[in-house]
Symmetry: C2
Subunit: 131 residues, 2 copies
Protein backbone atom coordinates (compact mmCIF):
# COMPACT_ATOMS: atom_id res chain seq x y z
CA UNK A 1 0.00 0.00 0.00
CA UNK A 2 1.81 3.09 -1.17
CA UNK A 3 -1.06 5.43 -1.92
CA UNK A 4 -4.25 6.47 -0.22
CA UNK A 5 -7.15 6.06 -2.65
CA UNK A 6 -9.20 9.11 -3.55
CA UNK A 7 -12.81 8.39 -4.45
CA UNK A 8 -14.73 10.72 -6.73
CA UNK A 9 -18.26 11.35 -5.52
CA UNK A 10 -20.18 13.79 -7.66
CA UNK A 11 -18.67 17.22 -7.16
CA UNK A 12 -16.60 16.01 -4.23
CA UNK A 13 -13.62 13.83 -3.50
CA UNK A 14 -13.64 11.40 -0.61
CA UNK A 15 -10.48 10.31 1.20
CA UNK A 16 -10.53 7.88 4.08
CA UNK A 17 -7.27 7.77 5.98
CA UNK A 18 -6.86 4.33 7.51
CA UNK A 19 -3.13 3.92 7.89
CA UNK A 20 -0.41 5.67 9.79
CA UNK A 21 0.83 8.57 7.74
CA UNK A 22 4.50 9.06 7.05
CA UNK A 23 6.28 11.75 5.06
CA UNK A 24 6.21 9.99 1.72
CA UNK A 25 2.55 8.94 1.97
CA UNK A 26 1.52 12.46 3.01
CA UNK A 27 3.39 13.97 0.06
CA UNK A 28 1.82 11.52 -2.41
CA UNK A 29 -1.64 12.21 -0.93
CA UNK A 30 -1.14 15.96 -1.40
CA UNK A 31 0.02 15.46 -4.98
CA UNK A 32 -2.77 13.03 -5.89
CA UNK A 33 -5.45 15.12 -4.25
CA UNK A 34 -4.47 18.40 -5.88
CA UNK A 35 -4.15 16.61 -9.24
CA UNK A 36 -7.64 15.11 -8.88
CA UNK A 37 -9.21 18.41 -7.79
CA UNK A 38 -7.79 19.99 -10.94
CA UNK A 39 -8.77 17.02 -13.14
CA UNK A 40 -12.40 16.76 -12.02
CA UNK A 41 -12.90 20.43 -11.09
CA UNK A 42 -14.04 19.23 -7.68
CA UNK A 43 -15.68 21.69 -5.32
CA UNK A 44 -15.24 19.79 -2.09
CA UNK A 45 -12.86 17.41 -0.35
CA UNK A 46 -14.09 15.17 2.44
CA UNK A 47 -11.41 13.58 4.60
CA UNK A 48 -12.53 10.88 7.01
CA UNK A 49 -10.20 10.14 9.90
CA UNK A 50 -12.52 7.92 11.95
CA UNK A 51 -9.99 5.12 12.06
CA UNK A 52 -7.14 7.31 13.28
CA UNK A 53 -6.70 6.90 17.02
CA UNK A 54 -3.67 9.13 17.24
CA UNK A 55 -3.17 12.40 15.40
CA UNK A 56 0.17 14.06 16.02
CA UNK A 57 1.39 17.49 14.97
CA UNK A 58 2.69 16.03 11.68
CA UNK A 59 -0.75 14.80 10.62
CA UNK A 60 -2.35 17.99 11.95
CA UNK A 61 -0.03 20.07 9.78
CA UNK A 62 -0.61 17.81 6.79
CA UNK A 63 -4.40 18.21 7.12
CA UNK A 64 -4.02 21.99 7.42
CA UNK A 65 -1.81 21.99 4.32
CA UNK A 66 -4.27 19.92 2.31
CA UNK A 67 -7.09 22.27 3.31
CA UNK A 68 -5.04 25.30 2.29
CA UNK A 69 -4.07 23.74 -1.07
CA UNK A 70 -7.68 22.77 -1.76
CA UNK A 71 -8.82 26.28 -0.93
CA UNK A 72 -6.53 27.89 -3.49
CA UNK A 73 -7.85 25.35 -6.00
CA UNK A 74 -11.38 26.52 -5.09
CA UNK A 75 -12.42 23.43 -3.14
CA UNK A 76 -13.67 23.34 0.43
CA UNK A 77 -12.27 20.75 2.84
CA UNK A 78 -14.37 19.03 5.50
CA UNK A 79 -12.82 16.72 8.06
CA UNK A 80 -15.11 14.01 9.42
CA UNK A 81 -15.16 11.25 11.99
CA UNK A 82 -12.69 12.73 14.44
CA UNK A 83 -12.55 10.68 17.62
CA UNK A 84 -13.04 12.60 20.88
CA UNK A 85 -9.53 11.71 22.10
CA UNK A 86 -8.08 13.10 18.88
CA UNK A 87 -9.93 16.39 19.37
CA UNK A 88 -8.46 16.65 22.88
CA UNK A 89 -4.95 15.91 21.64
CA UNK A 90 -5.15 18.38 18.76
CA UNK A 91 -6.23 21.26 20.97
CA UNK A 92 -3.63 20.34 23.59
CA UNK A 93 -1.01 20.43 20.83
CA UNK A 94 -2.18 23.96 20.08
CA UNK A 95 -3.67 22.93 16.71
CA UNK A 96 -7.30 23.94 16.52
CA UNK A 97 -7.26 23.47 12.73
CA UNK A 98 -8.33 26.94 11.65
CA UNK A 99 -9.73 26.95 8.12
CA UNK A 100 -10.89 23.36 8.25
CA UNK A 101 -14.58 22.66 8.65
CA UNK A 102 -15.41 19.54 10.60
CA UNK A 103 -18.43 17.26 10.79
CA UNK A 104 -19.24 14.31 12.99
CA UNK A 105 -19.72 11.79 10.19
CA UNK A 106 -19.53 11.67 6.41
CA UNK A 107 -23.29 12.15 5.99
CA UNK A 108 -23.16 15.50 7.77
CA UNK A 109 -19.90 16.30 6.04
CA UNK A 110 -21.49 15.76 2.63
CA UNK A 111 -24.44 17.98 3.61
CA UNK A 112 -22.01 20.69 4.68
CA UNK A 113 -20.14 20.45 1.36
CA UNK A 114 -23.39 20.50 -0.63
CA UNK A 115 -24.53 23.63 1.20
CA UNK A 116 -21.18 25.26 0.52
CA UNK A 117 -21.24 24.37 -3.18
CA UNK A 118 -24.86 25.59 -3.41
CA UNK A 119 -24.01 28.89 -1.73
CA UNK A 120 -21.15 29.40 -4.15
CA UNK A 121 -23.38 28.69 -7.14
CA UNK A 122 -26.07 31.05 -5.79
CA UNK A 123 -23.46 33.76 -5.27
CA UNK A 124 -22.27 33.29 -8.86
CA UNK A 125 -25.87 33.56 -10.13
CA UNK A 126 -26.28 36.84 -8.26
CA UNK A 127 -23.03 38.09 -9.79
CA UNK A 128 -24.26 37.14 -13.25
CA UNK A 129 -27.54 38.97 -12.73
CA UNK A 130 -25.82 42.09 -11.49
CA UNK A 131 -23.33 42.32 -14.31
Amino acid sequence: MDRIPILKFGDCLLVTIQVDMHDELAMSLQEDLTAQIAKYASRGVLIDISSLEIVDSFIGRMLANIAAMSRVLDAQTVLTGMQPAVAITLVELGMSLPGIKTALNIERGMELLKEYVKQEVDAEDVDDTES
Copy 2:
Protein backbone atom coordinates in the same frame (compact mmCIF):
# COMPACT_ATOMS: atom_id res chain seq x y z
CA MET B 1 -4.58 -0.46 12.16
CA ASP B 2 -6.63 -3.42 13.28
CA ARG B 3 -10.00 -2.61 11.76
CA ILE B 4 -11.29 -1.44 8.41
CA PRO B 5 -13.58 1.53 8.98
CA ILE B 6 -17.18 1.28 7.82
CA LEU B 7 -18.77 4.58 6.86
CA LYS B 8 -22.53 5.06 7.06
CA PHE B 9 -23.94 6.87 4.07
CA GLY B 10 -27.70 7.25 4.16
CA ASP B 11 -29.22 3.82 3.67
CA CYS B 12 -25.87 2.36 2.69
CA LEU B 13 -22.56 1.42 4.23
CA LEU B 14 -19.30 2.25 2.52
CA VAL B 15 -16.13 0.22 2.99
CA THR B 16 -12.87 1.05 1.27
CA ILE B 17 -10.33 -1.71 1.47
CA GLN B 18 -6.86 -0.20 1.35
CA VAL B 19 -4.66 -2.71 3.11
CA ASP B 20 -3.69 -6.29 2.53
CA MET B 21 -6.28 -8.52 4.09
CA HIS B 22 -5.34 -11.29 6.44
CA ASP B 23 -7.53 -13.80 8.28
CA GLU B 24 -8.06 -11.75 11.41
CA LEU B 25 -8.83 -8.50 9.56
CA ALA B 26 -11.27 -10.30 7.26
CA MET B 27 -13.06 -11.82 10.26
CA SER B 28 -13.32 -8.50 12.06
CA LEU B 29 -14.61 -6.84 8.87
CA GLN B 30 -17.33 -9.48 8.52
CA GLU B 31 -18.34 -9.06 12.16
CA ASP B 32 -18.32 -5.25 12.07
CA LEU B 33 -20.18 -5.10 8.78
CA THR B 34 -22.95 -7.49 9.78
CA ALA B 35 -23.30 -5.69 13.13
CA GLN B 36 -23.62 -2.32 11.39
CA ILE B 37 -26.12 -3.60 8.82
CA ALA B 38 -28.27 -4.80 11.71
CA LYS B 39 -27.74 -1.62 13.76
CA TYR B 40 -28.60 0.87 11.01
CA ALA B 41 -30.98 -1.37 9.03
CA SER B 42 -28.84 -0.67 5.98
CA ARG B 43 -30.10 -1.69 2.57
CA GLY B 44 -26.84 -1.61 0.70
CA VAL B 45 -23.13 -2.24 1.14
CA LEU B 46 -20.61 -0.65 -1.17
CA ILE B 47 -17.11 -2.11 -1.10
CA ASP B 48 -14.41 -0.18 -2.93
CA ILE B 49 -11.30 -2.14 -3.86
CA SER B 50 -9.68 0.43 -6.17
CA SER B 51 -6.45 0.36 -4.19
CA LEU B 52 -6.09 -3.41 -4.26
CA GLU B 53 -3.63 -4.44 -6.93
CA ILE B 54 -3.76 -8.11 -6.11
CA VAL B 55 -6.86 -10.09 -5.22
CA ASP B 56 -6.21 -13.73 -4.40
CA SER B 57 -8.67 -16.54 -3.81
CA PHE B 58 -8.77 -15.67 -0.08
CA ILE B 59 -10.00 -12.13 -0.70
CA GLY B 60 -12.32 -13.38 -3.45
CA ARG B 61 -13.92 -15.83 -1.04
CA MET B 62 -14.12 -13.17 1.68
CA LEU B 63 -15.96 -10.79 -0.67
CA ALA B 64 -18.35 -13.56 -1.72
CA ASN B 65 -18.98 -14.36 1.97
CA ILE B 66 -19.65 -10.74 2.83
CA ALA B 67 -22.10 -10.48 -0.06
CA ALA B 68 -23.90 -13.65 1.05
CA MET B 69 -24.09 -12.47 4.68
CA SER B 70 -25.40 -9.08 3.60
CA ARG B 71 -28.01 -10.73 1.42
CA VAL B 72 -29.48 -12.75 4.28
CA LEU B 73 -29.57 -9.51 6.27
CA ASP B 74 -31.53 -7.96 3.37
CA ALA B 75 -28.75 -5.72 2.07
CA GLN B 76 -27.36 -5.69 -1.46
CA THR B 77 -23.60 -5.65 -2.00
CA VAL B 78 -21.92 -3.73 -4.79
CA LEU B 79 -18.20 -4.00 -5.47
CA THR B 80 -16.57 -0.98 -7.07
CA GLY B 81 -13.25 0.17 -8.45
CA MET B 82 -11.90 -3.19 -9.51
CA GLN B 83 -8.69 -2.82 -11.48
CA PRO B 84 -8.58 -4.53 -14.89
CA ALA B 85 -5.71 -6.79 -13.81
CA VAL B 86 -7.74 -7.91 -10.80
CA ALA B 87 -10.69 -8.83 -13.02
CA ILE B 88 -8.36 -10.95 -15.17
CA THR B 89 -6.89 -12.69 -12.12
CA LEU B 90 -10.28 -13.40 -10.55
CA VAL B 91 -11.68 -15.04 -13.66
CA GLU B 92 -8.47 -17.01 -14.18
CA LEU B 93 -8.80 -18.21 -10.58
CA GLY B 94 -12.26 -19.45 -11.50
CA MET B 95 -13.95 -16.85 -9.31
CA SER B 96 -16.44 -14.84 -11.32
CA LEU B 97 -18.06 -13.56 -8.10
CA PRO B 98 -21.62 -14.76 -8.69
CA GLY B 99 -24.12 -12.86 -6.57
CA ILE B 100 -22.00 -9.73 -6.34
CA LYS B 101 -22.96 -6.75 -8.41
CA THR B 102 -20.07 -4.63 -9.62
CA ALA B 103 -19.72 -1.05 -10.76
CA LEU B 104 -16.80 0.87 -12.20
CA ASN B 105 -16.66 3.58 -9.52
CA ILE B 106 -18.48 4.50 -6.34
CA GLU B 107 -20.75 6.99 -8.10
CA ARG B 108 -22.17 4.30 -10.34
CA GLY B 109 -22.17 1.87 -7.44
CA MET B 110 -24.31 4.24 -5.38
CA GLU B 111 -26.72 4.69 -8.29
CA LEU B 112 -27.02 0.91 -8.57
CA LEU B 113 -27.74 0.59 -4.84
CA LYS B 114 -30.29 3.40 -4.93
CA GLU B 115 -32.11 1.72 -7.84
CA TYR B 116 -32.11 -1.56 -5.94
CA VAL B 117 -33.45 0.05 -2.74
CA LYS B 118 -36.09 1.91 -4.77
CA GLN B 119 -37.22 -1.27 -6.53
CA GLU B 120 -37.56 -3.02 -3.20
CA VAL B 121 -39.63 -0.17 -1.77
CA ASP B 122 -41.86 -0.12 -4.87
CA ALA B 123 -42.39 -3.88 -4.59
CA GLU B 124 -43.36 -3.46 -0.93
CA ASP B 125 -45.85 -0.74 -1.88
CA VAL B 126 -47.48 -3.08 -4.38
CA ASP B 127 -47.70 -5.79 -1.72
CA ASP B 128 -49.36 -3.34 0.68
CA THR B 129 -51.93 -2.30 -1.91
CA GLU B 130 -52.81 -5.90 -2.74
CA SER B 131 -53.26 -7.03 0.83
